[in-house]
């Protein structure tokens, strides 16, 4: 488990200080895929770089399985870093080395015997589906292939954690999807916990089990994806997760309900049922469903146009059909 405690990072600047992170507390459970999402400048990259101590936090602790990395001596820090792999937006491959030699690089650093390193590189390249490109140089690879090599390289030392700093932001949608599936496979098959820094909601939707929403250097909210996605509490989370919802609530009118579908429920024709069985006309103001982690999740905002009694009946009907709803306005 990686735990961040009161993590604060302040950069000195000409006009005083720039606070990049303020009192960030976060626990990344083993085996999870933890998304950290936020707008540009929210402090996402600083956060991930602090986990690896590429940036030294101004205050606070980074605990790796209970051991404080910020207090570790240089040599111990090098060892701890080997249990955390990292991939980057720009891949950061060694341009003068072949794909296989790039994967062997971290093994050379910890003086793994040559034969063993060679075999490990072959295994990893086959894991990421690039066996036939082992002898290619980065300049001969596409963006997606480069990121695969980077992933193989990050996994070479059998880390328990993998940090992804905007790893798919430079890739097209199809390639992004294939990289995300690869990360998921790595999480599932190797049990590596993954921290995904991104500004794209769909990345979190596709693979994450947990999410933290970062806003202006602070964590606005964090938790399991289905919880945060179903009931975003903070303004920023609502903005990121259901941007159209806020707009749909703006109009005036009858009482509005936000229905939340949490896996499976959205297959039933609840709304038409509402109209047919109860005879209550519901005006759909907004609807958005998506599949996360194989289950269907969604939001729908309806406006109940009936009188008090009818509306109460509608609420009962919804509750009876296991639809979670929340009054809005």
């Amino acid at each position: 488990m990686i735990e961040l405690k009161n993590l604060t990072k302040i950069y000195p600047s000409k006009t005083g200080e720039t606070v990049a992170l303020e009192d960030v507390d976060l626990s990344i459970p083993d085996g999870s895929i933890y998304g950290v999402i936020g707008l540009s400048g929210a402090g996402k990259s600083t956060l991930v770089r602090c986990i690896d101590l590429l940036e030294k936090p101004t205050r606070g602790q980074v605990l790796l399985d209970g051991e404080d990395m910020t207090a570790a001596k240089k040599k111990r820090l090098s060892e701890l870093r080997r249990s955390i792999g990292m991939i980057f937006q720009n891949f950061n491959l060694l341009e003068q080395r072949t794909a296989a030699a790039n994967v062997r690089f971290p093994l050379e650093l910890n003086k793994t015997p040559r034969g063993e390193a060679k075999q490990r590189a072959e295994e990893l390249l086959s894991l990421v589906g690039l066996s036939e490109k082992a002898e290619a140089y980065p300049s001969q690879l596409s963006g997606g292939q480069k990121q695969r090599v980077a992933i193989a390289r990050a996994l070479a030392t059998r880390p328990k954690y993998l940090l992804c700093d905007e790893a798919t932001s430079a890739l097209d949608p199809t390639t992004t999807e294939s990289i995300l599936q690869l990360l998921k496979k790595i999480n599932r098959e190797l049990g590596v916990a993954i921290v995904v820094i991104t500004h794209e909601m769909k990345v979190v939707e596709r693979i994450c089990t947990h999410v933290a929403v970062l806003d202006r250097s602070r964590i606005a909210e964090a938790g399991r994806v289905e919880d945060v996605f179903s009931f975003p509490q903070s303004e920023i989370a609502k903005q990121l997760i259901i941007p159209n919802l806020i707009r749909s609530l703006a109009g005036s009118g009858g009482s509005k309900l936000r229905l939340v579908f949490r896996g499976g429920g959205s297959g039933e024709p609840v709304i038409s049922g509402l109209a047919i069985e109860c005879g209550i006309p519901a005006n759909i103001l907004f609807a958005d469903t998506r599949r996360i982690d194989g289950k269907t999740f969604g939001h729908m905002v309806i406006e109940l146009t009936g009188d008090q009694k009818q509306n109460a009946a509608a609420r009962e009907y919804l509750a009876a059909h296991d639809v979670i709803f929340k009054e809005e306005l």
């Binding site: 690896d52 980057f88 491959l93 003068q96 650093l109 140089y137 001969q140 390289r153 030392t157 940090l163």
Partner: protein, 236 residues
């Protein structure tokens, strides 16, 4: 062709001069790199934002390098004759000349090495750090191999510069084409001797330049991508 020039070819003085020029240039450049390369690595790594920032050391080394680089070679040569004597026992001859060339070229090499290393993508260095590489490993396994093509180009420029200096250094009886041009040509009013020496010097420079560039291009694994990009630009 004057008699002097003909006799220079006959008694092999000219060929010996060419050999000496090549030999002294290569030797001096190699020794200049022995000092300049570590110095350049230190300049790059101890600087602000470098691998292991040591500001005072960086400032000190930078100042020393700048001082040596701002002294014109001719003056440096005269001023450091006692140093050459202390090192090789003589203040004249080929050995003294090598000392002069190394003193002049090492700071120059250091700056070129520094700039080559600074071209290495900071992201790659960061990636190596995140894998637990120590500063020594980063220099050895990231900076130097990644900067290799650029370092080779720098070495070519350095070698040609040393060759130019070596002509001047010939005046302290160091040997080589420079000495032949002065002693047999200029002092004897034989212009053809001077021009013949210039001709051979040009040939040597060409060989170093083209050979070095060929080597640099061949070792650079990024070249394919560059060629591709160039083509794209061409099509536009």
């Amino acid at each position: 062709m004057s008699d002097v020039l003909i006799s220079l070819f006959r008694d092999n003085t000219m060929w010996l001069g060419i050999w000496q020029t090549v030999y002294l240039t290569v030797l001096s450049t190699a020794l200049a790199y022995a000092i300049g390369l570590p110095l350049g690595v230190l300049l790059c790594t101890t600087g602000r934002g470098g691998l292991a920032p040591v500001p005072w050391l960086n400032k000190l080394l930078g100042a020393i390098v700048n001082i040596f680089r701002s002294i014109p070679f001719l003056i440096l040569m005269v001023a450091f004759l006692p140093v050459a004597k202390a090192i090789v026992g003589k203040s004249y001859g080929p050995a003294a000349m090598v000392v002069m060339l190394v003193i002049a070229a090492a700071p120059y090499v250091a700056r070129m090495v520094e700039s080559s290393l600074k071209e290495v993508d900071a992201g790659v260095v960061e990636a190596a750090k995140s894998m637990g590489a120590n500063p020594f490993q980063i220099v050895w396994k990231v900076y130097l191999p990644e900067a290799k093509p650029s370092l080779l180009v720098g070495a070519v420029i350095g070698m040609v510069t040393v060759l130019g200096y070596s002509a001047m250094a010939s005046t302290i009886n160091g040997g080589g084409l420079g000495q032949i041009a002065i002693f047999y040509g200029y002092n004897n009013f034989k212009d053809d001797v001077i021009w013949m020496c210039v001709f051979f010097t040009v040939i040597i420079v060409q060989v170093i330049q083209e050979g070095g560039m060929f080597l640099a291009a061949r070792t650079d694994k990024r070249l394919r991508a560059k060629a591709g990009r160039a083509k794209k630009c061409g099509r536009k």
